[in-house]
Symmetry: D2
Subunit: 248 residues, 4 copies
Amino acid sequence: MNILVTNDDGIGAAGIKALAEALTELGTVTVVAPDRERSAAGHSLTLHSPLRVFELRDRWFAVDGTPTDCVNMGIHSLLEAPPDLVVSGINHGGNMGDDITYSGTVAAAMEANLMGIPALAVSLATFGPTEHFPDAAKVAVQVARMLIQQGLPADTFLNLNVPNLPFSEIKAPLITRQGKRSFVGKIVDKTDPRGRKYYWIGSEEPSFLDDEGTDFNAVGKGHSSLTPLHLDLTNHRAMEALKQWQIA
Amino acid sequence: MNILVTNDDGIGAAGIKALAEALTELGTVTVVAPDRERSAAGHSLTLHSPLRVFELRDRWFAVDGTPTDCVNMGIHSLLEAPPDLVVSGINHGGNMGDDITYSGTVAAAMEANLMGIPALAVSLATFGPTEHFPDAAKVAVQVARMLIQQGLPADTFLNLNVPNLPFSEIKAPLITRQGKRSFVGKIVDKTDPRGRKYYWIGSEEPSFLDDEGTDFNAVGKGHSSLTPLHLDLTNHRAMEALKQWQIA
Amino acid sequence: MNILVTNDDGIGAAGIKALAEALTELGTVTVVAPDRERSAAGHSLTLHSPLRVFELRDRWFAVDGTPTDCVNMGIHSLLEAPPDLVVSGINHGGNMGDDITYSGTVAAAMEANLMGIPALAVSLATFGPTEHFPDAAKVAVQVARMLIQQGLPADTFLNLNVPNLPFSEIKAPLITRQGKRSFVGKIVDKTDPRGRKYYWIGSEEPSFLDDEGTDFNAVGKGHSSLTPLHLDLTNHRAMEALKQWQIA
Amino acid sequence: MNILVTNDDGIGAAGIKALAEALTELGTVTVVAPDRERSAAGHSLTLHSPLRVFELRDRWFAVDGTPTDCVNMGIHSLLEAPPDLVVSGINHGGNMGDDITYSGTVAAAMEANLMGIPALAVSLATFGPTEHFPDAAKVAVQVARMLIQQGLPADTFLNLNVPNLPFSEIKAPLITRQGKRSFVGKIVDKTDPRGRKYYWIGSEEPSFLDDEGTDFNAVGKGHSSLTPLHLDLTNHRAMEALKQWQIA
């Protein structure tokens, strides 16, 4: 069992260390991760410039690109053979609801899925300081073991969010759907030391609609949340309405 | 009617010029777009560093960020009031099938949708040189006019792909679902003038499964393709299978 | 007479426009300049990544690199033959005293000198808003004309600073030496919207030692300042003292 | 004795490790260095965007900026008090002749000098693989010790180049002047996987004029080379010639 591990917090983050260590229980782990933090990278590929790879130590490669780049580099270049599983994380902060579309952690799993490799994204649902990465890593290993044993449903990759608790207090995983965030964006504008204006996109702890059956709801109750995702963004229900449009 | 226009090819691209000009027919157009090409940016937000804005001319703003950043900047800072419509494009190259998850053009419309603003992404389905941006812009105006008249179904934004043809030869839009790409990735590795290795992620004209009812299929037959998208990545069909898993 | 023009404020800046226009009086002008502001770039070369070139219009090329990169690209790739003269500027802000070691504008002239091409850096000595770029451009043309007629002394390139005044009020150029700045650095530290600390290097209007014969002194009196520079950083006077050291 | 150590090869490079370890013999060492390679950065300051600092371990700080930024951050923000000495290096590759104007290693020492702190740049004169960083570090310690004992001449900072040899074979330091390079630039142009052209500035092992008394000459003979530098780029000999010009 060959496992490729990546993240979007950067190769020096505590979350990827805990994850890579825990997964050695299941197979040979190779880490290919961004050399710097690339949070909110989305499913972005670096096509306009080249990438560099730095082998930090045995089977730990830093890449000056995005999580999606790292999965590409791992599968097509750095690993001897395509991995049996790609695991991304453990992200510092939950990736739930609409916010998953921004997530570099989820995008890495999406990229693996596009290439036909089973994939799992793992996030720890807190934005504060935490010591619970090893606890979340244990949950990730449990889910990964099932994924290997059972296989994934067609066209599916997994999004796991774990509450920020000691392992013994984390309740059994619930299978959830993606929730909805109540979005409040903001832009901060300031002036640099040379008197020029700059802008900073704010991000806050997301607030969400606490609907039963969603990722937010499960984590809020102390459960891990496991959501099956796919790449199909089509709103099938909306197709009929659009077919009534008389365009042109 | 206030319309925000953005893209991912950069504010100097021919596609955004054609689009912005054509949309003046429907209302007041403000352009907020990346100062450099940001193809394959995905739904990426710049959270780690600030953004700069350059007003190039009246109502044309360049931002040193991603398309998603531009929509944020436009809505939360540069426009006097939230726009009635966000239109992103015209991308040079189709955004169809699984590839839309990489697309900065589609992500900009996704961002607008997250903020509750009706949104349309527009792409011209060719990667070769083209003179047909004004033709595609006419189709975009037709679709935008319908969108304004009819309103969008709930939780929906639109993805329009136009074949690379003169306006008179473009067949009526078909309402489609997102197709599937047959993905063949590759990495090119080379050596720089100082003898150090670098890697370049290859991208090629996508090949696809030509299924009836998909975006690829419609464009291949000379139709415009209009796909309703949403933000929900949940694979609802896979939930039952996962519920059988005995995790832990 | 073929003239290569570059700057460090970026190809869209008012100063390079005034300079390029004025120099057409002396020959054929080709502009190769950074696509974004690259102030304080120093004599930096982009060796670790590739460069892109965008031809904005006839003989105006934007490069996604430093002023030094632009001179390289112009001389070795974009121009049909090496230029007879490289002129860099007009910088918005003086480049005088020790500060010239940071200056991308001066570095561009330095690069041309390294390649054996006569070179002149031009700066307008104000950090406030200005309408006097065309006035400074006239002075630049006068100096460039003399440079062409007389030739430069061996191993020399020129650094011209022009006071921020209407042409009729600018006093005749004085030949000066590089002055000394009284340096007060500072770092501003702030917190980003996600609560993480960042730092910003401050820069302020330089204060300087007002020694007779220096660039600062000349400009302070309303003269243009013309300083012959070379690439030799050796402090020849200090060699004797060091020779007394008993190292090891 | 508080010593600030930086470099331009990045905080993970072998050269800075050897240097920082060796200098602990003389005092308390704090490392503030770029998180990525920043070769050929010249004397460039990051003014347009903010900087981030990452404390990797006790007294080792990575900064996402240039060597010049690192010296600024160290002196004005990260150290409790201004250091007694700044040492930059050990650069992988010599910094001699005109090339020192490109050098981030030399620029870091220049920045310290501007702020009134004694400074020494150290380079190992080979571009091939090497195991002799600890040998060069011993020479650096010898020079630093003399610098501390004797003090530097006014307006002077030091540029040390060490031949790529075992310590016992390195000949006594010679006090040298900056040599002259015979410059042959080149640009490589290639095509990326999407068919777009890109350019790469070539760099080659420098060839030089082997004049007696220069840095190149000393190192070529197996000596360390120690050159006193200053910030004055004025070509004083050229001033008389220019004073004959009748400008305007």
